[in-house]
Symmetry: C2
Subunit: 246 residues, 2 copies
DNA sequence: CGTCACCTTGAAATTAGTCAATGGACGTGG
DNA sequence: CCACGTCCATTGACTAATTTCAAGGTGACG
């Protein structure tokens, strides 16, 4: 029975200092989903809310009529086992939907937790569904989103099933950089990196202790560097080689 | 670098003794997707083909205008790493689509391999898409399928990330039984089990050798029994307990 | 100044992987 | 019918990867 996940237990939902609605959805940082809406000239007036780090944004099984998008900050989908083990299913960056299929689902089968302070918007499923069945082209783009989400899950499956600790962590970092790059959040191979090692551990299926060792190794080999929450990649080719990306 | 996967390398696509088309899609064994079509009074005249065990049915990246359903036999989605490691992403039983998102995709990001002799049908994506955007209710059912597929991937993510060898294998067996039960293919807690240990290994992210040990253990503890390709569960509660299902 | 949450490190214990040899089942050709 | 080859499963001995346990150390913060 490995990996008790220590103290990172949920603190219950907490829609803290909620904020205003009414803004348009077209913000560059909204990434893929924002772009989708923009391309199709769609605009919603979503409800917005803010959640503090480490709190639940969504509780598994909770019935909801809304589809949520992260506007700002990092969050994650997480599954819990009965004995306390946790698995982070994916990290959510600005522009990511809590779930691509969510417009068609009553509830989701995982929790969503804030990693940093998170601002997110909720859009009515009924509206969304209406527009989707109206415009076949929109539906196509949307299904692309679903497919991307599924493929991402499969990518991670390969990680956990076949790769060693080093490879997993190298890939986690590399893939994060790619995703942040698309959002213009990477400068000079460095970017904000708010993950605690316990969270990395839960994401890659390792122990926090082991994550610490591997991270030290990557640091001491001069591959990466972390300073006050900023991760900088010092040797991209070597990191890629470790990650098995040719 | 763990887990070279031995000799189970692909033998190239092979649409062997192909057969006739023209039958209606409404067969009980078609499971979820068949039911979907039936409920919505849809019928296609899909092309049918047969593939021998161990052969590729679909090669990653291959452009296709068709969505395929397994009609008979077992298949699997598999991903390959450059160094030969393999990960079985999911097992496909009769009624399963190669990919739920496939009607909207040009190509898929994994291989599909036959495990037993497989008969499958291919349906034109354009037809399917047309019907889907015609009938919102149908779209809903369809999205349910997508969601189920994604959730399944997440379930397996939890397995590989958090569970020990015993648990993974116990769950593999249990979940297979559930799926086969829905298709009426389980009698008296026993069902056909065509998986080689190498395939189990690739599915649960372990070595064939270790799979052998764990299977022996399950057998010697009187939990399961395998005879000439038939697996029988002898102690369901205990197997469930190992699998962490309460 | 104490607490808390997090990271680091060492040593020992476990789990799973590797290597290598053996044996059974099955099919094929002589 | 037998010899041979192939594919799988099994087992033992050994090694490697990762976890567990435990003890310190740091920095933020009230």
């Amino acid at each position: 029975m490995p990996r008790s996940t220590g103290t990172a237990v949920a603190r219950g939902p907490d829609l803290a200092p909620q904020t205003t609605g009414g803004l348009s959805v077209h913000e560059s940082s909204w990434g893929r989903f924002g772009k989708l809406l923009h391309q199709h000239q769609l605009s919603f007036t979503p409800v917005r809310q803010t959640v503090r780090p480490r709190r639940n944004i969504y509780v598994r099984g909770e019935v909801s009529e809304h589809t949520c998008v992260v506007c700002e900050g990092w969050a994650c989908r997480v599954a819990r086992l009965l004995d306390g083990r946790r698995q982070i299913l994916s990290l959510l960056l600005p522009g990511d939907l809590f779930s691509a299929m969510s417009p068609f689902q009553q509830s989701l089968d995982f929790y969503v937790e804030a990693i940093t302070e998170v601002r997110y918007a909720a859009i009515k499923n009924s509206e969304l569904r209406a527009k989707l069945s109206d415009a076949p082209v929109l539906l196509d783009s949307f299904m692309e989103l679903c497919a991307a989400e599924a493929n991402d899950a499969y990518q991670r499956l390969i990680d956990l099933g076949q790769r060693l600790a080093e490879e997993r962590i190298a890939l986690l970092i590399l893939q994060l950089m790619e995703r942040l790059e698309r959002r213009g959040l990477v400068h000079d191979q460095s970017f904000e990196f708010p993950l605690r090692q316990l969270q990395i551990a839960d994401a890659v299926g390792l122990t926090p202790v082991h994550v610490s060792r591997v991270m030290s190794l990557l640091r001491n080999s001069g591959l990466i560097e972390i300073q006050s929450g900023i991760l900088r990649i010092l040797d991209l080719p070597k990191l890629r080689r470790i990650g098995g990306q040719r």
